[in-house]
Amino acid sequence: MTVFGWLQILFVAALVLATMVPLGRHMARVYAGERTVLSPVVGPLERALLALAGAGARRSQTWLGYTTAMLVFNAAGFALLYALLRLQGVLPLNPRGFDGVEPFLAFNTAISFVTNTNWQAYGGETTLSHFTQMAGLTVQNFLSAATGLALAAVMIRAFALSGTDRVGNFWVDLTRVTLHVLLPLSVGLALVFVACGLPQTLLGSVDATTLEGAKQTIALGPVGSQEAIKLLGTNGGGFFNANAAHPFENPTPITDAVEIWALLAISFALTHTFGRMVGDARQGWALAAVMAIVLGGCLLVAQGIEAGGNPLLTALGVDPSLGNMEGKEVRFGSAASALYAVATTGTSTGSVNSMHESFMPLGGLMPLLLIKLGEVAPGGVGSGLFGMLVIAILTVFIAGLMVGRTPEYLGKKIEAREMKLAMLAQLILPATILGFTAVAAMMPAALASLANAGPHGLTELLYAYASATGNNGSAFAGLAADTPWFDVTLGIAMFLGRFGYVVPVMAIAGSLIGKTRAAASVGTFPTHGPLFVGLVTAVILILGGLQFFPAFALGPIVEHLLIPTGQTF
C-alpha cells in the first residue's frame, strides 16, 4: 500500500458518498411514480412508450404477474439480440465487414448481455459491427440494468408496503428507471468520456503509418456511448477485447476514477433509496456499511499484494517498486488497477482495467472472492440490493435462532416459506459454480482451453463459472472460452445465476408484501446498528467461506504457498 493508493481509495469513496443521497432520493421518486426533475424532459416520452404498450401495462401486478412479465420481456430481448448477432453480416453499420456471429458464440453472448453478465467470449473489435454494438449490446446494457432495478423496486416495496398482493407494474418500473435514471446519467457521462478522449465515431478503423514505417490499423467506433452505460448499468462488456484497459475505453487516470465511481454509484445509492422508502434512512446506511466493509477489506488485501511485485521476477533483477506490472497499464499502475479490479467484482460489472489472470495469487483471489460472496458488496444495479436483503433475512433468522425469537426484519415476520425460498436462492450460486467447475476439470475438451497449468489452471476454471453464475463477466481471460463446451455451459450458468436466483427472490417479496408490519417493541432486534452490521458481514463471509474455501485452497492459496519454492508451471 502506498500513500497514493490510499488517496485514490479516499477520492473514489468521496465521489460515491457525494452522489449517494441525491441519487438515492431521485430513485425513490422514480420507484414511487412521482414527478422528478427530469419529468419535463422525459415525461412525454414515458407517456408515449406506455401508451404504445397498452392499458394493461399500467395495472399493478402480483409478484407472479410481475415476474412473468419480466421473463417474457427478457426472453424476447434474448431472441432479438441472438438474431442481430447472427444476421450481423447483412445489417448496416458494419464498416469492417464482419460476418454473422457463429451460433454457439451468439447464444453465449446473447444470454450474457440479457443476464447483465457481459462475459466476453468474443473480442469486440475483431467480431462485432457497430450496429451490433449499438442496437444489440448497448440496448441490453440498458435493459438488463433496468430489469435489475425494477426487481429491486419490488423487493423494497415488500418491506415498505403491507397487506397487499400487488407489487407494482413491471412495464412502468422498466420504462421509468430507463428514462429517469439510466439514460440521462449515460448521456452526461458519455459527454464527459468523449471530452476525455474516448472515440465516438462511425468509422471502423484508421490506417496509420508508424514512425518506423509500418502500417498500424487502429480500430475505432462509437465507444463513449457504450462505455457510459456499460459502467452505470454494471454490465461490463467492452467495446474492445481488452475492455477498459484499452486506451480508447479508459485513456487517463481521471477517466479511470470516473469509471470506478460510475460502476459503484447506483448500487450504493440504492441503499439510500431503500432506507427512504421503508421510512428509516438508518436501515439503508447499515446495508451500505456492510457493503463498504467487505469491499474495503478486499481492496486493502488486493492493493497490498499487487504493490509488492512478483518475487519470481524480482529474483531476475526486475525492480519491484512499480508493483506487479504484468497485465497492467503504466498510466494506472498497480494501485489503481487493484482498485478497479475490486470495484468491478464487488459490483457485478466485470469491466477490467488490468488482466486479473496476471494478478498475484492472493491479489487475484480478491476479485474471485467478491464474486463468490454473492455479488452483494455492493453488487449489480438492483441485484446487489435484493441480494443483500436476502442475506439480511438470513441474518435475522440466524440471530432469531440464537435468542429464540421469531425473526423479524423491518417489522415483517420471517417464516418458514421465506427461509426455504432464501436458501433455495442462496444454494444456486455454489451448486452451479462448483458443479460445473468439477465437471469441467474432468473434461478433456474443457481442459484444452486452459492458458495456464498447475493450480492457476483450476483457478481459471473456477473464475469462469463464478463470473458467469454471479453475472459478473470479468475473467481470467487466458481461458479460450469460445468453444462449444464453454459457450453452452457458461451460458447455462449465467441463466441459472440470474433467473434461477431472482424467481425465488420475487416469491419472497410476494410473500412479505402481504404481511402487516409489526410495531417495534423492546424485544425487537435493531437492524440499523453496529451489531447488525457486524452480523450481516459475518454471515456473508462465513457462508461464502464455507462454500468455497476447499476450492480456494486448491487454487490460489496453494499457488501462493508455492511462490517461495520458485516452482513454475
Partner: protein
C-alpha cells in the same frame, strides 16, 4: 402470458430505437461537431500523414527510438491462418498475455528480456514496466525510469549527448493526474516525435 406480448414488443422496440440508435447516434453527432479530433481517435498527423494515435502505443524496434513496453497482441499467422503469431501493438486486436504469476512462459520471457536490457544499459535492475506486457497490448506509456534506461543506446545510435535526451524525457514526463491519480508516465509516441524533430536523421 398473452397480455405480456403487446408491452414486450412495444417496449423492446421503443427502447431499442431510443437506447440503441437515437442515444449513440445523437452522441456521435454532438461529438463529431464539438470535438472531432478526440471523437475520431486523437490521431496524430505529421505533414498531413496519420502516424498514429496519441492514445495508442506503437511498435518501435530500431536502436534510434525510445521503445514501448513488450506487447502481447497477436494476429493470424500469415503462413498458417489457423495459428497465431506475435504482432506487437496490433491496434485492431487488443489483448494481454494472461500469463499467471507462476507461469514458466512468463518467467522465461522476463528472464531473457531482463538479461538483454541489463547488458544493453549496464545496470543491475530494470524497471517493472520494461519487461512486462500491458493489459491492452497497446500501452502508449512507459515509466520515466524505463525511458532513462534507454538513453545510452539512443545516444550512441544517434550521436547525441545523453544530457539532451535526459532533458527531452523530463520535458515529456507527465505526473500523476491531480497529483495522486495513476502513475507518472511518458508517452512514447510523443517522445519519439520530439526526438525526430530534434534529430531528423
Amino acid at each position: 402470458m398473452i397480455e405480456h406480448l403487446r408491452p414486450t414488443f412495444a417496449l423492446l422496440g421503443g427502447l431499442t430505437v431510443l437506447t440503441g440508435l437515437v442515444y449513440p447516434l445523437a452522441l456521435t453527432g454532438i461529438a463529431q461537431v464539438a470535438l472531432p479530433g478526440r471523437a475520431n481517435g486523437s490521431l496524430v498527423e505529421v505533414d498531413g500523414r496519420v502516424v498514429g494515435s496519441q492514445l495508442i502505443g506503437q511498435a518501435f524496434t530500431g536502436a534510434k527510438w525510445f521503445h514501448g513496453r513488450p506487447s502481447a497482441t497477436t494476429a493470424p499467422d500469415p503462413k498458417d491462418p489457423a495459428a497465431t503469431a506475435e504482432a506487437p501493438y496490433d491496434a485492431a486486436r487488443s489483448a494481454g498475455s494472461n500469463l499467471g504469476p507462476l507461469s514458466r512462459r512468463l518467467v522465461e520471457r522476463v528472464r531473457a528480456d531482463t538479461e538483454a536490457l541489463k547488458a544493453e544499459a549496464g545496470v543491475a535492475t530494470v524497471p517493472g514496466d520494461a519487461v512486462t506486457t500491458s493489459a491492452s497490448g497497446l500501452d502508449p506509456h512507459i515509466s520515466p525510469a524505463f525511458a532513462r534506461l534507454q538513453v545510452k543506446r539512443i545516444a550512441a545510435a544517434r550521436g547525441l549527448a545523453p544530457e539532451t535526451l535526459e532533458a527531452l524525457i523530463v520535458a515529456h514526463t507527465r505526473g500523476r493526474d491531480l497529483g495522486f491519480l495513476g502513475e507518472p508516465r511518458v508517452n512514447v509516441l510523443d517522445l519519439d516525435l520530439a526526438l525526430a524533430r530534434l534529430d531528423p536523421s
